[in-house]
């Protein structure tokens, strides 16, 4: 189930959305981060510049002593959250806060964690005010953490959302494929149920339903035509047969004519039967069929026929195997297979039934592999069978009945001979 969920188009879409969401969160975070950092730096610089201006004003008015006094005052007033102050004399000694060396050029500098504004004074003195950037480092950590958390959240939400959406999607796909399967199985009255929301799925379903209406209508017409042909053709042929029968008395040639007529009528009936089976309509009347009993009875019936043709029919039939199906059609299918084996197969016929497998084998000449596909087609007759009586429809009917019962028909080499297998 999970495997199917992950492979749905919707889940893939959800994953893609999650990825896009991811990327946009990352870009947003990055931009925000740079922006906030910039504005924090600007704030710090503004503060430093303002301080510098004030100190320089005092220095210009009252000289170095006043400057020193001011600085000391500030350090003492606010020891925790304060700026750093440095005054360097001509010898290079730094007064107040500790720093290895002070750049002498006027302007902004960045040393270790410090943002530094440097202003040269008179007599080789330099004043510098610095601000710690550790605040910004903290902020960076918080933001990175936040971003990571939102990544994890969006990933989890994306996957859960994707699973939920694709489950809903799968449900509808399942409903659609169940309907399609029932229609494929011959129940043409089935239609896809709409959600009533008019979404893409409903639109698709409506289109498919319209198509199904059309197909059903066309098939109905074909069925109707077939029934009419059956009726319209059978009635005159019946009259013909009746006439011939009345004239038959003591005339063997008319007897032959009747036999010929019956043969064409048999071909006709066989074609109609194949059409009936292929339409899938018989599936409605499916019941539990005791395959073991059915095959045993058929084997009993045909072993007598085999004996008369000096052949033998052996069985290997497991007990109590049931299948859901049409008993009449299954009887006709097995009968066709056994009769084929008797007619073309040789002198040793085997009929077998095991769980999920039925086979009819013979020890005759078999069928070359190249012919095995063709032989199931209507009216195909191999060169060998052309000389014998038959219409070439028997195996087509077998194939149609097997398909109706979802049985897999295969023709195999029995070494020697042919082995027809039905897997179900």
């Amino acid at each position: 189930m999970l495997h199917r969920l992950i492979h749905t188009a919707n889940f893939k879409l959800a994953v893609l959305y999650t990825a896009i969401f991811f990327a946009s969160v990352a870009v947003l975070g990055g931009v925000l981060y740079i922006d906030v950092q910039q504005s924090l730096e600007d704030q710090l610089k503004d503060r430093i510049s303002a301080e510098m201006e004030q100190l320089l004003g005092d220095y210009r008015d009252d000289g170095m002593n006043e400057l020193r006094h001011d600085v000391r005052e500030r350090i003492e007033a606010n020891p925790a959250n304060r700026l750093r102050y440095y005054i360097q004399n001509a010898d290079g000694r730094i007064i107040f806060d500790k720093l290895a060396a002070l750049p002498r050029e006027r302007g902004w500098h960045s040393i270790a964690h410090l943002v530094l504004l440097v202003e040269p004074l008179e007599d080789g003195y330099v004043l510098a005010i610095g601000g710690e950037m550790t605040v910004m480092q903290d902020m960076q950590d918080v933001m990175l953490h936040g971003l990571l958390m939102s990544f994890v959240f969006s990933l989890v939400l994306g996957i859960i959302g994707g699973l939920i959406v694709s489950r809903r999607f799968l449900k509808r796909v399942d409903r659609l494929s169940r309907t399609a399967e029932m229609i494929g199985a011959g129940d043409l009255s089935q239609r896809i149920v709409l959600n009533g929301t008019g979404d893409d799925f409903d639109q698709l379903a409506t289109t498919i339903n319209r198509m199904l209406d059309r197909i059903e209508q066309l098939l109905g017409e074909i069925q109707h035509v077939t029934t009419n042909i059956a009726h319209d053709l059978r009635t005159p042929l019946t009259k013909l047969r009746n006439r011939l029968e009345m004239l038959q008395e003591g005339n063997p040639e008319i007897g032959d004519a009747i036999a010929l007529l019956d043969e064409s009528l048999n071909t006709f009936s066989a074609l109609l039967r194949i059409a009936e089976v292929e339409s899938g309509a018989r599936r409605e009347g499916f019941t539990q069929v005791d395959l073991s009993l059915l095959l045993t009875q058929l084997a009993d019936t045909y072993s007598a026929v085999a004996e008369q043709e000096s052949a033998t029919l052996r069985t290997n039939i497991s007990a109590a195997i049931y299948v859901n199906g049409d008993k009449h059609l299954l009887t006709q299918m097995f009968s066709n297979l056994i009769e084929n084996a008797l007619k073309y197969g040789g002198k040793e016929i085997t009929v077998g039934l095991q769980q999920n497998k039925i086979w009819v084998g013979d020890n005759g000449a078999g069928i070359p592999e190249s012919e095995r596909g063709l032989i199931l087609k209507p009216f195909y007759r191999s060169d060998k069978s052309r000389s014998t009586r038959g219409n070439g429809l028997g195996l087509s009917l077998v194939a149609a009945i097997a398909a109706l019962h979802s049985m897999k028909l295969s023709l195999n080499d029995h070494k020697p001979g042919l082995r027809v297998e039905l897997d179900f």
Binding site: T235, E245, R273, V305, G390
Partner: protein
């Protein structure tokens, strides 16, 4: 026998009626569903032969109406609709037999005769008798002149079918449908083979042959 033929095709109806007259029976013909319904309700017939496709009232509805109004006359559908589904629907509507066109008259006639004096439903005999042949259906034993005959299951079913219709002709098709449940024409001589095996057990050693072949039509077992 007095029969009712409900068939819109005059030629077909005439063919059946003539055939029946030749065998010494009388037959009325109705040319459409309404006429058929009227005659069937009023007249006292032994068997009805009904076409499925009829003008005015189709055969299926006609028979359902008759059965609902309590007419129990045995009915046989004669129809060009030969699919398994059509057959099931026909029998469900209350028909006792179903013959698909085209048909041999002998086949139709044999089936009509079987229907004519069908024992009423529910009355199922457990022993059957044909001349000096006795069958016990419950004990699955067969005796002729007091001597037990051993039969294979298929042979037993075949003999049972013949004995149930003792004294009447049963056709090859009737046997295929009744004994083997084959609703198709097999390519091998199943019926002939099994009849000959059955004969070798039932008739061999007896001066009188009970199972007779009616040439070109079918088989019959003597009733007495």
């Amino acid at each position: 026998m007095k029969l009712l033929i409900i068939e819109d095709d005059a030629g077909m109806a005439g063919f059946i009626a003539n055939g029946l007259k030749e065998h010494g029976h009388t037959a009325d013909v109705a040319a459409d569903g309404h006429e058929g319904l009227m005659l069937a309700t009023g007249g006292n017939y032994d068997v009805m032969v009904i076409d499925r496709m009829l003008p005015k009232l189709d055969g299926l509805t006609l028979l359902k109406t008759l059965r609902e109004s309590g007419v129990k006359t045995p009915a046989l559908f004669l129809t060009a609709m030969g699919s398994l589904d059509d057959r099931v629907k026909g029998l469900e509507s209350g028909a006792d037999d179903y013959v698909v066109k085209p048909f041999a008259f002998a086949e139709l006639y044999a089936r009509i005769c079987v229907l004519a004096r069908r024992p009423p439903m529910g009355d199922v005999a457990t022993t059957l008798q044909a001349a000096d042949l006795e069958m016990d259906i419950m004990k699955r034993t067969v005796k002729r002149g007091g001597e037990t005959i051993m039969l294979q299951p298929t042979e037993f079913r075949l003999l049972e079918y013949l004995m149930r219709h003792a004294g009447k002709l049963v056709t090859r098709t009737m046997l295929l449908e009744g004994v083997w449940e084959f609703h198709f024409d097999p390519k091998t001589s199943i019926v002939e083979t099994h009849i000959s095996r059955l004969r070798s057990k039932v008739d061999k050693g007896f001066s009188r042959e009970l199972i007779t072949t009616v040439r070109g039509s079918g088989y019959m077992i003597d009733a007495a």
